[in-house]
């Protein structure tokens, strides 16, 4: 892997640039954190406390490890604490590499996001600082140093947390999730069956990523089928386990035609073709010495009921600044959104305020709540109230966001057709959304 991705470091628009010059001795540093607890920092939005947090991000840790800590900035030999409440967490990114992140606790996206290569960093407490609990993340390859100050109550846990972080960053899974954590669980399940990723890709026509597969397994009961396979006699070692599996365990009842498979794996698209062009991956099968037949696996997939399991959608963090900015640069849109802001002297009716509101934990909670309700398929009548067209109502009745999105896009088209340009946009239509028909047509032709 190339060295370039060792440290892809991004800093948000704030002025907190951390010095890159390596410092030889920590003892030269002057730590300034006494005024850090100033709770009157005006920029700080008070963090969502327990109830909110709980509703907002179910379960305590959605990350590999997380704890409360603030960041520190370094200028010359002075390391100053940023008084904001923050949290450090390690998250596995799409690239499958651990990311070391810092964000303000009320924010949803990280201000610091470092991709970490295995064993490239060390994390340790800085004993030189006596006015607070400071720790240091040092990147071995570049000698870069990043400082943070602990905001956790309990100092006795620090070492444990550092160790967890270190474990995550060095590629080790933290102890508590080592049993069968996340993707690993699926992967090892499959490996136990003597199936590796390549085989799966072939089975599924090459277009399904592991997430979708994981979802398929977890959502539709295939997991338990797999469990059943795995649980067959003599599960002594993975190899033995896999060998013990014979197609006999797959009863005819399970082995149904594969026609439904396409739908089951619809998220991955292109899966429909899979059954017909299935090559026999003798290499993989031979390598692992498994007796399980690919057709058996196909049958498992085939028997999976789609169960109307819509792909998971998380709207809360989707309304990002990047996506909102182009919308809010259009005054006609702003004019339509502001009337739905809270009407109060303290809430300016501006595009900026729309941005602030949409980024606020309170709004995100509302979106979360809306999305959960939508998925229960009970919002049809409510959506009807908003005149979004019958297809949108139908999508709501099915709890299907993808169809809902399609319906809204179509709805826009038909409205355009009936109302003509300029009839709807408050500001005479100039600069309105209808000005880019090219884009829209392109979008539509995809359907």
């Amino acid at each position: 892997m190339s060295r370039e991705i060792v440290m892809s470091f991004s800093i948000s628009s704030t002025s907190n640039i951390i010095s890159l010059s390596p410092i030889e001795s920590l003892w030269n540093l002057d730590f300034r954190i006494s005024p850090l607890c100033r709770d009157s920092s005006p920029r700080k939005l008070s963090e969502m406390a327990l109830f909110g947090r709980q509703a907002q991000q179910r379960g305590s840790s959605r990350y590999m490890v997380e704890f409360k800590a603030g960041r520190m900035t370094m200028e010359g030999s002075t390391v100053t604490a940023d008084p904001r409440k923050g949290m450090v967490y390690v998250n596995k990114g799409d690239d499958d590499l651990p990311h070391f992140c810092w964000r303000e606790r009320s924010a949803t996206s990280p201000e610091e996001d470092l991709i970490i290569m295995p064993n490239d960093v060390e994390l340790k407490k800085v004993p030189q600082c006596t006015t607070g609990r400071v720790f240091l993340l040092r990147v071995k390859a570049t000698g870069r140093k990043l400082f943070y100050w602990m905001q956790e109550f309990d100092a006795t846990k620090d070492e444990e947390l550092f160790k967890k972080v270190q474990d995550c960053l060095s590629g080790k899974t933290p102890a508590r999730s080592s049993s069968s954590g996340g993707d690993g669980g699926l992967q090892s399940d499959l490996q136990n069956l003597g199936i590796d990723d390549n085989m799966l890709q072939e089975i599924l026509g090459g277009n399904v990523d592991r997430n979708q597969l994981a979802q398929l397994f977890s959502s539709s009961g295939a997991g338990s089928l797999l469990q059943g396979l795995r649980g067959t006699p003599q599960p002594a070692t993975p190899r033995a386990d896999a060998t013990a599996v014979t197609s006999g365990t797959l009863t005819p009842a399970v082995a149904r035609p594969t026609a439904t498979m396409g739908t089951a794996a619809a998220g991955g698209g292109g899966a429909q073709g899979a059954p017909t062009k299935l090559p026999r991956p003798s290499n993989a099968a031979g390598k692992t010495g498994t007796k399980i037949q690919l057709s058996d696996l196909q049958n498992i997939f085939g028997s999976v009921q789609p169960a109307a399991q819509a792909p998971p959608v998380d709207w809360t963090s989707a309304f990002s600044q990047a996506l909102l900015l182009p919308i809010l640069s259009n005054p006609a849109f702003v004019q339509r959104l502001t009337p739905h802001l809270p009407q109060d002297a303290l809430i300016p009716q501006t595009g900026d305020e729309v941005m602030n509101t949409v980024q606020s934990p309170q709004f995100q909670q509302a979106v979360q709540s809306f999305a959960s309700a939508f998925e229960t398929r009970q919002l049809g009548p409510l959506i009807q109230e908003f005149n979004l067209g019958t297809e949108a109502v139908q999508a709501a009745n099915n709890g299907d966001f993808e169809a809902f999105v399609r319906a809204l896009e179509k709805n826009k088209e038909s409205q355009k057709a009936t109302s003509g340009t300029g009839a709807r946009a408050p500001g005479s239509g100039a600069g309105g959304p209808q000005d880019k028909p090219g884009n829209d047509d392109e979008e539509m032709s995809v359907d």
């Binding site: 963090e47 309990d154 049993s179 339509r336 739905h340 509101t357 809306f370 966001f401 959304p433």
Partner: protein
């Protein structure tokens, strides 16, 4: 949504919520701040601290230790908790009715509530509190604008139960007010010349440690004197000093205090905005956003982003589940 049928909603254990809550009860001179460290440097900035509210995830069967030592409740106002969701208000009211400080003005509602219920036993006081319409209405006004409560939010079936406990000094002793306990719990005398917070710190830390390893979250809130009141008192003194003897030092201090005052005003504004948002019905804005995104041709982008995040979330949840099992 606010209910008139004697129900209590859960509210967020957020300092902004608590501060506005007690002000809506009619209390003046007080505010609530979050303590995110049990540390003298933090205490120093917030003094005077009149009481602490400790919030933690409540578990039915804790390790049964020896029963806590109950305090002589004669001079302590203690109401037992009879309704679960009321515990936030319960805890803060229990503290407020025991604080004796010149900065605190309880206001008509709480004064008459105390007078009315003072002669009752803790259980009956708790029932009185649960049935006090004024207090309940204020409490419920802080419920999140939950549009879809009736739709059975599937993910919250296993909703965690949180519990609030108050700590404060009463007549020279450190007292814990836990609405689920039989009475006020006595943590012993506060030695002369020592700050009660320093006595309370190890006790609370201890409590946190007993939950260690189970990833239990805590919030610690402090009832403190209204910062603006503190600052304007200090300002008045400094200005008087300055008039009799103007020095650079004093004018510098005045400038600094003015800065703090402005920060506090700004913070208060932000808290109010937060609370306004908490109570707002965002559904029309959500729908309008969807429409606007559709019209701009960006809805597909938004959806793609949402599914990307959704898949990430799914993965995390899966990981969590396997961890839990």
């Amino acid at each position: 949504m606010a209910s008139t049928h004697g129900e209590w909603c859960t509210i967020e254990s957020d300092p902004a919520v608590f501060t506005e809550l007690i002000r809506d009860f009619g209390v003046t001179g007080m505010q609530v701040e979050e303590l995110y460290m049990l540390d003298e440097s933090l205490f120093e900035q917030l003094r005077p601290i009149h009481g602490l509210i400790f919030l933690f995830k409540w578990e039915q069967e804790g390790p049964k230790k020896s029963p806590p030592k109950l305090a002589d409740s004669k001079n302590i106002y203690f109401a037992k908790q009879v309704i679960h969701n009321a515990c936030a208000t319960q805890a803060i009211v229990n503290i407020l009715l025991n604080v004796e400080h010149n900065d605190l003005k309880l206001g008509e509602t709480l004064v008459s509530f105390k007078e009315f219920s003072n002669g009752f036993d803790p259980l009956l006081r708790g029932q009185c509190l649960s049935n006090c319409e004024v207090i309940r209405n204020v409490h419920n006004s802080f419920a999140r604008n939950e549009l879809f409560e009736t739709f059975g939010r599937k993910a919250e079936k296993e909703e965690d139960v949180f519990h609030f406990v108050g700590y404060l000094p009463i007549n020279g002793r450190l007292i814990e007010l836990d609405g689920l306990a039989e009475g006020p719990i006595d943590h012993g005398e506060i030695p002369a010349g020592r700050d009660w917070l320093h006595i309370a710190t190890p006790i609370i830390e201890n409590r946190m440690n007993t939950y260690s390893g189970r990833e239990i979250r805590f919030t610690l809130l402090a009832l403190i004197t209204d910062r603006k009141m503190v600052y304007s008192k200090q300002l008045a003194e400094l200005q008087a000093q300055y008039q009799s003897m103007p020095t650079d030092d004093i004018s510098q201090q005045i400038a600094q205090l003015n800065g703090l005052m402005q920060d506090e005003v700004e913070k208060e504004r932000l808290s109010k905005v937060e609370n306004i948002r908490r109570k707002h019905n965002f559904l029309p804005l959500i729908i309008e956003l969807f429409k606007v995104f559709a019209e701009s041709g960006n809805l597909k982008l938004l959806y793609d982003e949402a599914s990307k995040k959704g898949q990430e979330r799914e993965r995390r949840n899966k990981r969590l589940k396997t961890e839990a099992s």
